[in-house]
């Protein structure tokens, strides 16, 4: 089972990686802002799968951090694009 969970984490990370490269190309600031959002969901999924694979559930705390900070970073990016 850990092998399967690692594989699932690898797959989701691959999806995040491909999505990131697409999003960062833009063209609009709103596109690029999605980079933070993508890591908010995809990053949490990778983390939780890793937590299950290794059995260290304290990693779930990091998931809460990612959710809070991804939202903050996305709002901050939009604020910057807005002000300019």
């Amino acid at each position: 089972m850990p092998e399967f969970l690692f594989a699932a984490a690898l797959f989701v990370l691959l999806m995040v990686a491909v999505g990131l490269l697409r999003i960062l190309r833009g063209p609009t600031p709103a596109d690029r802002m999605m980079a933070a959002q993508l890591l908010g969901t995809g990053g949490i999924a990778v983390l939780l799968l890793l937590a299950a694979a290794t059995g260290e559930w304290t990693m779930a705390d990091m998931g809460i951090f990612l959710a809070l900070l991804a939202a903050f970073a996305a709002v901050a990016l939009m604020a910057g694009a807005d002000r300019s």
């Binding site: 990053g43 809070l68 939202a71 970073a73 604020a79 002000r83």
Partner: protein, 309 residues
């Protein structure tokens, strides 16, 4: 399978780093840097350093990202971004960075096998601190002086930012760009209460589990800035008395406890064994406030004259 995951993680980090450094569009570079910070948090989780992971996600992905965006918006307003650095300077910076990278790589590759470690000693001496997390014990007990100086550096950085304010602005508020969008208002209403609980929990749990005042304080700063952005909270005037108190509360209590160490335990920053843990909690409680307030005000930037805000 886990090797494949680590390799992909490493490749992605290198790609994002390259994008941040080489990208022509500065906004995209900042977005890539934020993604880099959040992802680096996952890398730290992979190497088993959850304390560092929380710090990296909070500081690297959250607050530094906010700082860069604020700086970028300010530069654009003054058209400084258009002025590119000369080729000579760019080459010099690239060479210096390359030199540091090569040196670091050389050091890591030449570490003795097995690498020197203080882990057994740390674990053996954990009990007198009353803490269960050796990272917290290092930060708050064995290397408390470093931690204290780190907090003072934070205050100095804030003073540096304030010192670029024009005379007319001194004592006024930093500029806040407010967006009264309905969805943003809702986000700024429900996220900060959750964030405040998570921030305080992070400090509280750091005695025995990964966490700490820096991580918790950073979350508080992010939540405050979110509320400011939605127009639900105001930034304080930099001359405000309570603001000054909040900024110095953490370092002041830390210093007071440190000085008390002379009397109670024989030297600076030593804790008497019986009350080590309560003292550490006493230091961390005001510290989370000071860290949160100073980080938020660093991102908010220098005060602006009344009417320009």
């Amino acid at each position: 399978m886990s090797l494949g995951l680590d390799l992909l993680l490493a490749a992605l980090m290198l790609g994002l780093a390259g994008w941040t450094v080489l990208g022509r569009d500065m906004f995209a570079a900042i977005a890539a840097f934020i993604a880099y910070g959040l992802l680096l948090g996952i890398v730290w989780v992979r190497v088993g350093a959850l304390d560092v992971a929380l710090t990296e996600a909070a500081v690297g992905g959250g607050v530094t990202g906010g700082l860069l965006i604020a700086a970028w918006a300010r530069l654009r307003a003054t058209a400084m971004v258009e002025r590119k650095a000369g080729a000579g300077l760019a080459v010099l910076a690239a060479l210096a960075s390359l030199g540091v990278a090569v040196l670091l790589a050389a050091v890591v590759l030449h570490l003795p096998q097995p690498a020197p470690t203080l882990v057994p000693e740390a674990m053996a001496n954990l009990a007198p601190t009353g803490l269960g997390n050796p990272v917290s014990a290092t930060l708050m007990a064995w290397r408390a002086l470093d931690t204290l100086l780190e907090k003072l550096v934070l205050l100095l950085a804030l003073l540096g930012i304030w010192s670029v304010a024009p005379d007319a602005a001194w004592g006024a508020r930093p500029a806040a760009s407010v967006d009264r969008d309905g969805a943003l208002t809702f986000l700024a209403q429900f996220l900060p209460p959750v964030g405040v609980v998570v921030g305080i929990y992070t400090v509280w749990t750091s005695a025995d589990a990964p966490g700490g005042a820096f991580q918790g304080g950073t979350i508080l700063a992010a939540m405050w800035l979110l509320a400011v952005r939605a127009g639900l909270a105001d930034l304080p005037r930099v001359a405000s008395r309570w603001l000054r108190l909040a900024l110095v509360a953490g370092p002041a209590v830390f210093l007071a406890v440190g000085l008390a160490g002379f009397v109670l335990a024989g030297h600076f920053l030593a804790y008497p064994e019986a009350v080590a843990k309560p003292l550490i909690v006493l230091i961390e409680a005001p510290m989370i406030l000071s860290i949160g307030v100073s980080l938020a005000l660093m991102v908010a930037g220098p005060p602006v004259p009344k009417g320009d805000a």
